[in-house]
Structures are given as structure tokens and as C-alpha cells.
């Protein structure tokens, strides 16, 4: 196996009698961006929760590269309301990094996201966009090997969405980390991912895998290869819904 951070084979998950995922197999190579694209309710978040160790699969295997650090940007906000911006970062860093290194990374991330002046503010005093940025840098502040992003751009306006996307790509390039991105927006997947896993309706299975080689920073939606991939994805989903 060439340097994989994550390898999922034949994973299934059942809640009571509800089959959420059936026979999922996929992998993530070190330093690449993979995307899970699928209709809502097909088990994307459930798969992330299993990768993060919050719940166990009912079959199959999830193998993380030993010693990997996992950063997780949750689908819904999970900041500690009684801790300031900086304290929220310290809280997750404390079990990973020494004080010196932790402080250095904190300042770097706070500066890059324009939150340095707000480091002593509480989450209730931040705007929605600032909270979103804080969620993102919290996950980055532990120097993760694998970053799980669960619909990080939902409920964010277009302008901020583009800025956040750029920011994530910058960190990704500099740090050489691996990104796993959940989205239900095909355009976003096509712009960001090296590999897209298309999931079916519940119970989720991988129905198609698409790969892209063009560097992310050069991609635009007008690009012919990306555009036709986008069309293909949309057709597949239309067909699924038609049934």
C-alpha cells in the first residue's frame, strides 16, 4: 500500500434496524484531498464518526496510519462557550503539543484567520463567520495528519465560503496533511478533491469514484475536464432520484 493515512474496507453500520452504511471501501493517501459526496442522510457523518472513534462499525475495518492525529471540523458548532477563542484552542492542544510549540501554532493560525485581536473574546461575542474560522483552526491547531471536514461551508455566505476554501487549501499545501471533505455540493467537490467518492442514497455505498490530477490552485469550474465531471455527477444523482 502506498502510504495511506486511512483505509476503510467493507464497513457497514446499522442503527437499530436502520441500515445506514453498507459495504463501504475507500482510502486516503497521505497528502491528498478526498471528498465524500452524497445525498443527505446517506451516512456521511456516520462514517466520519467511525473514523474519529466515536462509534464502532458493525462490520469491516477502519485502519488509520498508526500515530495519526485526527482533527475534526464537526457538522454543527462545538465550541466551548465558557472558554475564550484562545482557550478553546489550548483545550484541544494540551494533549498533543508542548506549551512552546502550541503557542507558536496558535498565534500563527489566529493571525492567518484574522482572529488574533479576538483571542480573548468568548464565542458568543463572535460573528458566525468568525466562529466557523475558529472551528477550522481548532482542528488545525493540533497539527493533524488527517483533517475531517464535515460540510464546513454550509450556512456560510459565498464570499466567506471562497475565503475559507482558499485558507484550507493553503494550510493543506503547507502542512502536507490529508483532507477528507464531506459535502453535498458537487461543485465544491470537483474544485477541491483529488478523489471523489460518490455515495448512494441510504444505505450508503460507493457508487462511483472520480479522480482528478490538476493542482487545486489552478482549478476553475470552466475547466473542461472538471465541467464534464460535474455533469456526470449531476446525471448520476438525477438518475438515482428518478428511481
Amino acid at each position: 500500500m502506498e502510504n495511506r493515512v486511512l483505509e476503510i474496507t467493507g464497513v457497514k453500520k446499522v442503527y437499530d434496524s436502520l441500515e445506514v452504511l453498507e459495504d463501504i471501501s475507500l482510502y486516503l493517501k497521505q497528502g491528498e484531498i478526498a471528498s465524500l459526496l452524497g445525498p443527505s442522510g446517506c451516512g456521511k457523518t456516520t462514517l466520519f464518526r467511525m473514523v474519529a472513534g466515536l462509534t464502532k462499525p458493525d462490520g469491516g475495518k477502519i485502519i488509520l496510519k498508526p500515530g495519526s492525529r485526527v482533527g475534526y471540523v464537526f457538522q454543527e458548532p462545538r465550541l466551548l462557550p465558557w472558554k475564550t477563542v484562545e482557550e478553546n484552542l489550548v483545550f484541544v492542544q494540551q494533549n498533543y503539543l508542548g506549551e512552546e510549540e502550541a503557542r507558536f501554532i496558535r498565534e500563527e493560525l489566529l493571525t492567518a484567520t484574522g482572529l488574533l485581536d479576538f483571542k480573548d473574546h468568548y464565542p458568543a461575542q463572535l460573528s458566525g463567520g468568525m466562529k466557523q474560522r475558529l472551528e477550522l483552526i481548532r482542528a488545525l491547531s493540533i497539527k493533524p495528519d488527517l483533517l475531517l471536514l464535515d460540510e464546513p461551508f454550509k450556512s456560510v455566505d459565498t464570499h466567506l465560503k471562497i475565503k475559507l476554501r482558499e485558507m484550507i487549501l493553503n494550510f493543506w499545501k503547507e502542512e502536507g496533511l490529508s483532507l477528507f471533505l464531506i459535502t453535498h455540493d458537487p461543485e465544491e467537490a470537483v474544485l477541491m478533491a483529488d478523489r471523489i467518492y460518490l455515495l448512494s442514497d441510504k444505505p450508503g455505498r460507493v457508487i462511483k469514484t472520480l479522480e482528478f490530477n490538476k493542482p487545486q490552485q489552478q482549478r476553475t469550474i470552466k475547466d473542461e475536464e472538471l465541467y464534464s465531471a460535474l455533469e456526470e455527477i449531476i446525471n448520476i444523482f438525477m438518475e438515482l432520484n428518478g428511481k
Binding site: 474519529a52 472513534g53 466515536l54 485526527v70 475534526y72 464537526f74 454543527e76 462545538r78 466551548l80 462557550p81 465558557w82 472558554k83 483545550f91 484541544v92 494540551q94 494533549n95 498533543y96 468568548y122 464565542p123 458568543a124 461575542q125 493540533i142
Partner: protein
């Protein structure tokens, strides 16, 4: 931001003015009404104030005040500790929840007078234990219920987040459970405090030979109505001091993270 602060302080001053005016109107009304009645029935504000000064000079005011405050602090302190601990234990174990939950409801529904009669039977009159027991038994369910519902409202998503980032049990308790719970505890303490004062005076009135409640009962049987009013005033003052000078500042401090744009 400056505009926001200005507007809060203006509205604070406005609220204060309204409250003070309301109080003065009541005082005036009391004064006018008292002129039409015998002081035995309704003493005037001036007569009440004189009685209060006499109580202070004789030393009775501070002796009894201190006795009542001390008993209340002991009984209520024990209730806070017990209510809090029991809430935590019951939340953690469904077995003890099944055992204790109905019991606490029963304790809460029994009227205070029944507890007081029982306390007098069990512990006798002229004992410290009677008022302390009554305060405890009346207030500990209040603390328990409020803390218990606070525990139920803790956001388990946050606990999950901490697990993802390899936090220990200790870190989760200190940085998630406690900060989430403390505002509930403080508001429970604030709710229970009025019950605590009332129970201690009530118990002293009937089952003790010292404290404000006892002084009230003496004034009552000696037909010294202005002294009765003076003691009532002392109690009101005491409650206001605790509520506004102690509890509310603490409450503001423990929920400081919950306020927007300051």
C-alpha cells in the same frame, strides 16, 4: 460598542429610578394609612424606624441577626452540598435515581409545617437543630431539582468533541461539566435562598428561643407591633443584601461568557 454600553447604563439608571419611585410611593401610602390607625394595628414608618433604632441600641438586633444568619448559612450550606452531590450521583446511576427520585418528590411535597412539628417532636424546643433541620429539608430539594435539570442540559456534543481530542475524564469534568453546571448551581442557590430565610424565621418563631423568628414571636405576644414591623424590615433588608450584593454579582461572573458584544 461604546453606544451599546451607554445604552445599558442609561437603561440601568432608568430602571433604578422607576424602582425607587415605586418604593417611595409605597412608603408614602404606608405613612398616610398609618395615620388613620392605632399603632397597635399599623405603626407608621417613623415609629417602625424608632423601634429599629431601639433594637440596634439594645444589642438585640445584631445578636438575633447573627444567630439567624448563622443558622441559615449552616442549614442552607448543608442543603447545597447534599442537593448538588445527590444530583450528580443520581445522574450518573439510574439505579440510585430509581431509589431516590420518588423520595425527593415526597420530601418536597410535605408542607413545611409538618416538618416543623416533627422537628419539635424529635429535637424539642430551644435547639439549634430545629431551624437548621427545617431549612435543610425545605431547600435541599430545590437545589437538587435545579442542579439535576442543569446536568440534563449539558451538551454531550461537547463531551464528544473532547473525546476526539484525547481529553481525559478529569479534563472533561473540569472544563465541560463544571463550567456548564455552575450557572445552574448559582441560580439554584438564588432560588432556594428565599426559602431558606423563610424557613429559618418560621422555625425560630415556633420551635426556638433565639433568632429573628423568636424575637418576632416575642414582639407579637407583647403586642409590640412596631417592633414586629422593624424585624420584618430587617428580614427584607437581609434578603436584598444577599440577593443583590452577593448572589447577583456571582451570577454575572459565572455567566460572563454568555453575554453578547461587550
Amino acid at each position: 460598542m461604546v453606544g451599546y454600553q451607554m445604552s445599558t447604563s442609561t437603561s440601568k439608571r432608568y430602571n433604578f429610578t422607576i424602582s425607587t419611585t415605586g418604593l417611595l410611593v409605597v412608603l408614602l401610602f404606608w405613612h398616610l394609612l398609618a395615620r388613620r390607625f392605632n399603632p397597635l394595628v399599623l405603626p407608621s414608618p417613623a415609629e417602625t424606624w424608632t423601634a429599629l433604632k431601639e433594637l440596634a441600641v439594645s444589642g438585640s438586633l445584631f445578636t438575633n441577626l447573627w444567630i439567624t444568619v448563622r443558622r441559615t448559612l449552616i442549614g442552607y450550606g448543608a442543603a447545597i452540598l447534599t442537593g448538588f452531590t445527590l444530583a450528580v450521583i443520581l445522574k450518573a446511576s439510574s439505579f440510585w435515581q430509581l431509589v431516590f427520585r420518588p423520595l425527593i418528590t415526597i420530601i418536597q411535597t410535605i408542607p413545611p409545617i409538618v416538618w416543623l412539628v416533627l422537628a419539635v417532636i424529635w429535637f424539642g424546643i430551644a435547639e439549634e437543630i430545629t431551624p437548621i433541620f427545617l431549612i435543610f429539608v425545605v431547600t435541599f430539594p430545590v437545589i437538587f431539582i435545579n442542579v439535576f435539570s442543569g446536568l440534563k442540559s449539558i451538551d454531550l456534543y461537547l463531551v464528544e468533541m473532547a473525546r476526539v481530542y484525547r481529553c481525559t475524564r478529569r479534563q472533561v469534568i473540569l472544563d465541560i461539566y463544571l463550567p456548564a453546571l455552575i450557572p445552574h448551581l448559582v441560580s439554584a442557590v438564588s432560588i432556594g435562598l428565599a426559602f431558606a430565610w423563610k424557613s429559618s424565621v418560621f422555625a425560630e418563631f415556633i420551635g426556638s428561643s433565639s433568632g429573628i423568628g423568636f424575637a418576632l414571636s416575642m414582639a407579637n405576644s407583647n403586642l409590640e407591633t412596631e417592633e414586629l414591623f422593624a424585624w420584618a424590615l430587617v428580614l427584607v433588608g437581609l434578603m436584598l443584601i444577599f440577593e443583590y450584593l452577593i448572589i447577583q454579582p456571582i451570577q454575572r461572573y459565572v455567566t460572563r461568557w454568555n453575554r453578547h458584544g461587550e
